[in-house]
């Protein structure tokens, strides 16, 4: 009788864990509309200024720069 109860309990525990896992997985589906990581810029999202290709998070200007990047 005790053996039967243990087997039944183990079976119910396994089924329960499987069902809970299924619920968890289905409620945490990967968002198919999430942005690519790392972000990939399409051709239409870039601009050009002075030969520099510029993504959407950077803006060019015609003001005098305070400093520059250069090779040293």
């Amino acid at each position: 009788m005790r053996s039967f109860a243990i087997k039944t309990g183990a079976t119910l525990l396994t089924i329960g864990a499987t069902m809970l896992s299924a619920v968890f997985v289905t409620s945490h589906l990967k968002n198919p509309s999430a942005p690519l990581q790392p972000p990939v810029l399409s051709g239409g999202q870039t601009a050009s200024a002075g030969g520099v290709t510029i993504g959407p998070s950077v803006h060019s200007s015609d003001v005098q720069p305070v400093t520059s990047t250069y090779a040293s």
Binding site: T53, S61, V63, V66, S68, T69, Y70, A71
Partner: protein, 273 residues
């Protein structure tokens, strides 16, 4: 450009290059504190002084050595750069630097070439171990932090200078905050002026530090000066350190692959063949 707020600037020579710092609504004393920080840390990270912390780490190869918080962070950053670049940015480059005669500052003149001694660089994670407060190099391995140090330091220097500041260490720079008039810091990148806000920029080139038909940009796949077909790359990224890694990686990838790499990693870029 009309400056709506007071911008303090300061220029100095350190780490063998020209440095500039700018800050909005800060005292000159704050900028001088930044210069002292650069000089102190630069002296600890140079490979040209036997007494520097980096030289002691190189000399202690084969055993663990206690390291400062700054060097530990920079070594961890170097490991991250190795991963980020697919192994193309590798600070375990000291043996190649010696092989090309760059074992002392170029102001003292390069030493004799020994290109036959150059070998492909080892995988950095296999020769560098870092744990809290300590680091270990495998025997025979040596580190030159190079541009990684400048990018990392520019990022940190901005936290010293204030929330609205810009640090340029030999062309590796970080711009923090909204800039003098709220639209970003105007920074020259190749022939354009870009407004940077909480972003960094860097340039990697084989046109500078050239002598005897060699230069200082080492391709880790050969251990020799790079010959990818690209001469110079400038990049804007989220930090100065990232810009440095992306610029050097693109330069080593060459003209066929660099555009796609930059398109997926950089915020703005310029490639010169």
């Amino acid at each position: 450009m009309p400056l709506n707020r007071s911008v303090e600037s300061h220029h100095f020579e350190a780490m063998g290059t020209s440095c500039s710092v700018f800050a909005v609504d800060q005292s000159r004393t704050r900028l001088l504190e930044g210069e002292f920080w650069v000089r102190r840390l630069g002296a600890r990270l140079t490979r040209f002084s036997a007494d520097s912390e980096l030289s002691k780490l190189n000399a202690a190869a084969g055993s663990w050595m206690y390291v400062s918080e700054e060097l530990e962070s920079m070594l961890q950053t170097s490991l991250n750069a190795f991963e980020m670049s697919g192994g193309l940015v590798n600070v375990a480059v000291l043996s190649s630097m010696v092989a090309i005669g760059y074992a002392r500052p170029l102001t003292e003149g390069p030493l004799a070439l020994a290109l036959d001694d150059a070998r492909p660089l080892p995988s950095l994670p296999e020769v560098l171990s870092v744990r809290s407060g300590a680091a270990r190099l495998e025997r025979g391995a040596g580190i030159d932090l190079g541009g990684i140090a400048k990018g990392w330091m520019a990022d940190r220097l901005c936290t010293i200078l204030g929330p609205n500041s810009l640090a340029n260490l030999g062309g590796d720079l970080r711009a923090s905050g909204p800039g003098p008039n709220g639209s970003g810091w105007p920074v020259g990148v190749a022939n354009a002026t870009l407004m940077l806000r909480d972003q960094g920029a860097a340039t990697s080139s084989v046109r500078r530090r050239r002598w005897a038909k060699v230069h200082h940009i080492i391709d880790p796949r050969s251990g020799l000066p790079a010959d990818s077909g690209l001469q110079e790359v400038s990049v804007v990224a989220n930090t100065g350190y990232e810009a440095e890694v992306i610029a050097k990686t693109a330069l080593l990838l060459g003209p066929d692959f660099a555009p796609a790499y930059c398109a997926s990693h950089a915020l703005a870029w310029w490639l010169s063949e």
